[in-house]
């Protein structure tokens, strides 16, 4: 057939590559609109963590002996991780809705870069979590949060938070693609939101009974929280930064592999 010679394969790749960023920005704009139009999302990802921070600082804080004078500084990293963990559960929900409503099929039948279908949601997760972290930080500043971190330390904090968000977002992609119901798509996040409570996020682990303490000291949140706390208070970071990074990168890689597998299974 003469038409097969019309456009060579290499050019096909080119046209798709050229549109990757514009397609991605359309996808980002779309799901950011979803977030700002859903009061439920805003309450869960920003207002609830702020309420929790108020609760810990002004209700429990007085009775908790952390060995530091400023308890807002102490809880801030843990609150941020909780906010991110609840934020990514909405990535699963949005993805699930796209698959269920047939929007995913509509996009897949269109001449857009296929990778933007998932990366659009992942990018939205990074951007929206960044926004909620900034809002939480502004409230924390009003509550007395202070940081002696250098610019380099701030960059490290941003990097670790971004990596943590990216890793958990790819975890969220898996239920988003495989869940049978809306509840199922969101349910996986509960254990993630709970993990900071059994860590050094709110109280020092040395106050815990042995079994709980062993768990708390060897799960990713403690390493991440301790690293963030050290960076934010301008103190030297311990070996824990490497533990934190290994956890984040490890979760990211494993989740990405399973997410892509779930995607290809869903698609074929």
């Amino acid at each position: 057939m003469e038409v097969t010679t019309q456009v060579p394969g290499s050019q096909e790749m080119e046209t798709i590559q050229n549109h990757f960023f514009s397609d991605l920005s359309v996808m980002l704009g779309r799901s950011m609109r979803h977030i700002f139009r859903s009061m439920d999302t805003i309450i869960t990802v920003t207002i609830t963590p702020i309420a929790m921070m108020l609760l810990f600082v002004y209700v429990f804080g007085g009775a908790i002996q952390t060995g530091t004078a400023n308890y807002v500084n102490y809880v801030f990293p843990g609150i941020v991780l909780i906010a991110i963990a609840s934020g990514i559960s909405y990535t699963a929900l949005r993805l699930f809705t796209d698959v269920q409503r047939g929007i995913m099929e509509r996009f897949r039948s269109m001449p857009i870069a296929p990778s933007t279908l998932l990366w659009g949601h992942v990018l939205t997760s990074l951007v929206s979590n960044a926004i909620s972290v900034v809002v939480i930080m502004l409230v924390a500043l009003i509550m007395g949060f202070r940081s002696e971190a250098s610019i380099l330390s701030w960059l490290a904090v941003i990097g670790i938070l971004a990596l943590f968000t990216l890793a958990l977002t790819w975890v969220a992609v898996i239920p988003g693609l495989t869940a049978k119901s809306t509840d199922g798509a969101a349910a996986f996040a509960y254990p993630l939101i709970f993990l900071p409570f059994i860590s050094s996020a709110f109280v020092p682990t040395r106050s815990m009974p042995l079994v709980v303490r062993v768990f708390a000291e060897n799960q990713p949140v403690t390493a991440i929280v301790n690293t963030l706390r050290a960076l934010l208070s301008g103190q030297p970071v311990s070996q824990e930064i490497w533990v934190a990074l290994v956890w984040c990168v490890g979760i990211l890689l494993v989740a990405y592999i399973f997410a892509m597998r779930a995607y290809h299974k869903r698609v074929s």
Binding site: T4, V26, H34, S109, M110, P111
Partner: protein, 253 residues
Amino acid sequence: MQNIAIQVKDLQKSYKKLNVLQGVHFTVEQGSIFALLGSNGAGKTTLIKILSTLLKQDGGTAIVNGFDVASKPAHVRKSLSLTGQFTAVDELLTGQENLIMIARLRHLTQPRQVADELLTRFGLTDAATRRVSTYSGGMRRRLDLAMSLVGKSPILFLDEPTTGLDPEARLEVWKVVKELADGGRTVFLTTQYLEEAEQLADHIAILHEGKIIASGTLGELQKLFPAASVEYVEKQPTLEEIFLAIIGKKEAQ
């Protein structure tokens, strides 16, 4: 080959042990309305998914707008537009935003203008800035169709476009489909309603148990049966005619 929009040869697809398509053949001429008729589970949706690059076939070939669906999926996607069985609209966006989004994803230069034209054409101008979650079923389907018309793809796939619609909305969809074909586009639709195929299609194929068991124009299919005999029967209005007469407003125009 210029006038052939879709060519399917010996297409096969099975899910585990279920042979959904067992060697399907047909061709669709450019600018025609082709109806694929079949009962639920006959494999209509599977076929449409393969033609629109959403599924890979196990065997056989399918050429859409001159491009092989298996080896040139990106080109096939540029040639077609799919309206799935279930309305695929974004509930949290407004009608206008839905259309602009599709126009931007199709890389059109004036997305807003394209959106407004389609809103007018589909009678959705008043609802343009309302979220789709407030739309009625018929309005959603119209928006869904409008979204498929963004970018003027030469080939349209409509998977059961009128299933679940009330009679009035169904007539509206038929009107749009006819206009599209008159404008030179090829329409490939699936339906389980005989009347729909009869009303719309230039060419009808019947898919049954994974194979095309009959194919042709309505006239050709009628010839497969014994010649019609003339009988005198008192004509009662059908319920649909009564319903439409009472609702009336469309016919009055």
